[in-house]
């Protein structure tokens, strides 16, 4: 599912906050719209988005129909150890998506 665009700095100083930007392609269907034949389109939004830093959850976003289509998130994490940032999300249809980034911590 769902292509995403992720932006994470390649290298950060230990102890510094760094910015994470992610944009996920998803309609975030509200359930209030109808298709061309007048049938309601069932609600389907990304319910849960989890960011893990070396396997440990560090940021969770519970979204809903109040978040715009193709949800964009920008948040900050604190650099501790070099390793992997993983992002995982699931929508109401049960479809999952993920993205990965490696982070090098210096200093």
């Amino acid at each position: 599912m769902a292509a995403s665009r992720l932006q994470v700095p390649a290298e950060v100083r230990r102890g510094d906050s760094f910015e994470v930007k992610i944009s996920i392609r998803h309609p975030m269907e509200t359930g209030f719209r109808v298709d061309d034949s007048g049938k309601p389109i069932p609600r389907n939004t990304i319910r849960e988005f989890t960011c893990r830093y070396n396997g440990k959850p560090v940021f969770i976003a519970r979204l809903g129909s109040g978040i715009a289509a193709n949800p964009y998130l920008r948040f900050f994490l604190t650099a501790a150890e070099s390793g992997q940032l993983s992002f995982e999300w699931v929508d109401e249809a049960g479809e999952r998506g993920d993205a990965l980034a490696s982070l090098t911590v210096v200093g």
Partner: protein
């Protein structure tokens, strides 16, 4: 006979009137931060607060004053530190006054965040006030509100 269009009394009265309308106009164009205003009545928000008394002023919710398209409105919520030990932010929730689903999002920090700043884009079904609620590990509740004028509301038509 020359008619006096500017009798001193009427003139003073008019000047006062002009000054007053100017002040009124300025108040409309440059509203004061709505942070001190009471919270809008949103049942889901009241349930979420569950009787806890929120504090105003520390949490900052930024939304544009005027949004052309309610389908995607830039939103930023920040809470400047420093945070005392055991007083870090654990979650931030967003509530809408007019959306069919009032709770728009909830962000959680499983580990104490060094910098509390979240940006996203929200859907808004019409002009309204939006409320952000931050809960701290020590149990303190901080709120911020922002008023948005939405020209084209979301949810009424397709994106």
């Amino acid at each position: 006979m020359k008619r006096d269009w500017n009798p001193p009394l009427a003139s003073a009265h008019r000047r006062r009137l002009i000054a007053a309308s100017g002040a009124l106009l300025a108040a409309r164009v440059f509203p004061t931060r709505a942070d001190s205003a009471p919270l809008p009545a949103i049942p889901e928000l009241e349930a979420y607060l569950a009787g806890r008394t929120p504090q105003f002023g520390r949490l900052i919710l930024d939304l544009p004053r005027l949004a052309d398209d309610g389908n995607a409105v830039a939103m930023r919520v920040t809470m400047p530190g420093p945070f005392a030990q055991g007083e870090h932010v654990t979650s931030i929730a967003l509530f809408s006054e007019k959306n069919p689903v009032p709770k728009m999002a909830q962000f959680e920090f499983p580990v104490p965040p060094a910098r509390v700043e979240i940006e996203s884009r929200v859907r808004l079904a019409g002009s309204q006030r939006v409320v952000a609620v931050a809960i701290l590990a020590g149990g303190a509740v901080h709120v911020a509100t922002a008023e948005v004028l939405v020209t084209l509301a979301a949810c009424l038509d397709g994106p």
